[in-house]
């Protein structure tokens, strides 16, 4: 590494050291935050601050090896946009130049300035290194809120730029623009544990593992052998936008379920029972009253049979308004089949069923149920009625338990809600994975 040059901060008198002498133009004092011009022989105060020493995840002066090159952290700036802040560490190597380590939302990226400008395909799409990069967010105003260390440009607090981020998979191209210039930076995700091992720090914390404060110019480098030679899997780091759409969809789905369950609460059921002879005549039973107390409610009619097999029950319902005698008709089938074929035993159907009648207006109702039971054979039994195979084995009875009540969750509606909520996030994620 290049030899440092020491000088005293004109703001607080603290001793500072320039590590990238000859390149650095500005130093932000780690003791008081004052910004000093070091391009001239005499360090000149640009802006004086009186701030506490910053606690940095990577203390300045710390060295770490990334991708086979040893870097020294020489500068740090904290920036914010839309209420969220992140850390940017400026790394320096006298032979390789400058790089960035950015920590945002607990995730790290390793950045370098672009040497060739991307080709603008549209306002939202650029091409760079034979890949298309699409913008995901609207332009955002980014403000520098704190700086410490040395920089190769005239850094200052409250500096404002407009930034956009273009994505290709989980790789980013950051475009920052102010009145004077446009800067492009390529950012690749990097494993946080690797950053921690490379620099000998706790990558998730604001201080060193040994409890010491950061910002220490002249701190010792990492233990020998601490290096990171690979970047994180580019697919393992979902973009914040995609992640937040899933979070929003999950929240909305939970809210929708709670709302639907609240409106679908069951009322007092009317119950009854019926015994049907298989192959016998239709039988009718009336349940009621079913009181619909809101302007509109659902009515759920349930039927359950005792143990039976290879039989079915046709169920016809008429929800009759006691005042107007108007009826809402519905139907259902209770069926259960079993048998054996070349794949082994099989079953089909259930011993219970339910039907929901939607949008029933306020009133008092009776449920008139008409049911008839039938039987089916797998063909091995002799048929007494050759022309009607469904009348085979017309023996036995089926005991039905019946109930009718207001309420019931509209599961079909909920499935539609899930599709509408989660289809866009899945599409966004698929598009990004495809891009990766």
């Amino acid at each position: 590494m290049i030899a440092g040059r020491k000088f005293d901060c004109p703001g607080c008198g603290g001793t500072l050291e320039i590590r990238a002498a000859g390149y650095t133009t500005t130093v932000a004092c780690r003791y008081c935050g004052s910004v000093i011009d070091v391009a001239s022989p005499d360090a000149t105060l640009i802006t004086q601050y009186h701030q506490a020493v910053a606690e940095l995840a990577i203390p300045l002066g710390t060295r770490g090896t990334i991708a086979g090159i040893e870097w020294e952290a020489i500068g740090w700036q904290s920036r914010s946009s839309a209420g969220e802040s992140w850390d940017e560490f400026l790394l320096f190597n006298p032979y390789a130049g400058y790089r960035w380590l950015v920590r945002a939302d607990g995730e790290w990226t390793f950045g370098r300035a672009l040497e060739s400008l991307p080709e603008m395909l549209s306002d939202d799409v650029v091409r760079w290194q034979d890949a298309k990069w699409e913008v995901e967010d609207d332009p955002a105003t980014m403000v520098t809120i704190r700086v410490v260390g040395e920089f190769y440009w005239r850094v200052k607090v409250d500096e404002t730029v407009t930034g956009r981020t273009f994505w290709s998979g989980s790789r980013q191209l950051s475009c920052e623009q102010n009145r004077d210039e446009v800067n492009w930076t390529a950012l690749d995700p990097i494993d946080s544990d690797g950053v921690g091992k490379a620099f000998g720090i706790n990558p998730d914390g604001g201080s060193r593992p040994d409890g010491g404060l950061g910002g220490g110019l002249g701190s010792s480098g990492p233990p020998p052998g601490k290096s990171i030679d690979h970047f994180a899997d580019t697919r393992s780091s979902p973009r914040p936008f995609v992640r937040w759409t899933f979070v929003a969809a999950l929240f909305a789905a939970a809210l929708a379920f709670i709302t639907m369950a609240a409106f679908g609460g069951h009322g007092t059921p009317a119950t009854g029972s019926l015994s049907l002879g298989v192959g016998g005549p239709e039988r009718t039973v009336t349940l009621g009253p079913v009181e619909v107390k809101r302007a509109w409610q659902t009515v759920t009619i349930s039927a359950a049979g005792d143990e039976f097999a290879n039989k079915w029950v046709d169920l016809d319902y008429a929800l009759v308004d006691r005042r107007t005698h108007q009826a809402i008709e519905a139907g259902d089938t209770l069926e259960y089949y079993t048998g054996t074929d070349s794949d082994g035993p099989w079953t089909e159907g259930s011993h219970s069923t339910s039907t929901m009648i939607a949008r029933v207006p306020r009133g008092s109702y009776d449920v008139v149920m008409t049911a008839s039971a039938h039987a089916w054979s797998d063909g091995t039994a002799p048929s007494p009625v050759v022309d009607d195979p469904w009348s085979i084995n017309p023996t036995g009875t089926i005991a039905l338990t019946l109930s009718a009540a207001t309420g019931g969750v509209l599961w079909g509606n909920f499935m539609v809600v899930l599709v509408l909520l989660f289809a866009p996030p899945c599409f966004f994620a698929w598009r990004k994975m495809k891009g990766a």
């Binding site: 609240a262 519905a330 069926e335 207006p361």
Partner: protein, 53 residues
């Protein structure tokens, strides 16, 4: 917060509003029948035996 994310949150709010309205008015296109017009109707009816194979 990006414009796209805000637009998606608005979409979520619209979906939730629709689901709430449907639940309040007991409306569903998937019900076995409907008393107030609209989709639904008489379901079930004769069923010709098992659908196995």
């Amino acid at each position: 917060m990006s414009g796209k994310l805000i637009a998606f949150i608005v979409w979520c709010a619209l979906v939730w509003t629709g689901a709430t309205w449907a639940a309040y008015s007991a409306w569903s296109p998937f019900a076995g029948a409907s008393g107030g017009g609209g989709p639904g109707g008489r379901g079930g009816g004769f069923y010709g035996g098992p659908m196995h194979k």
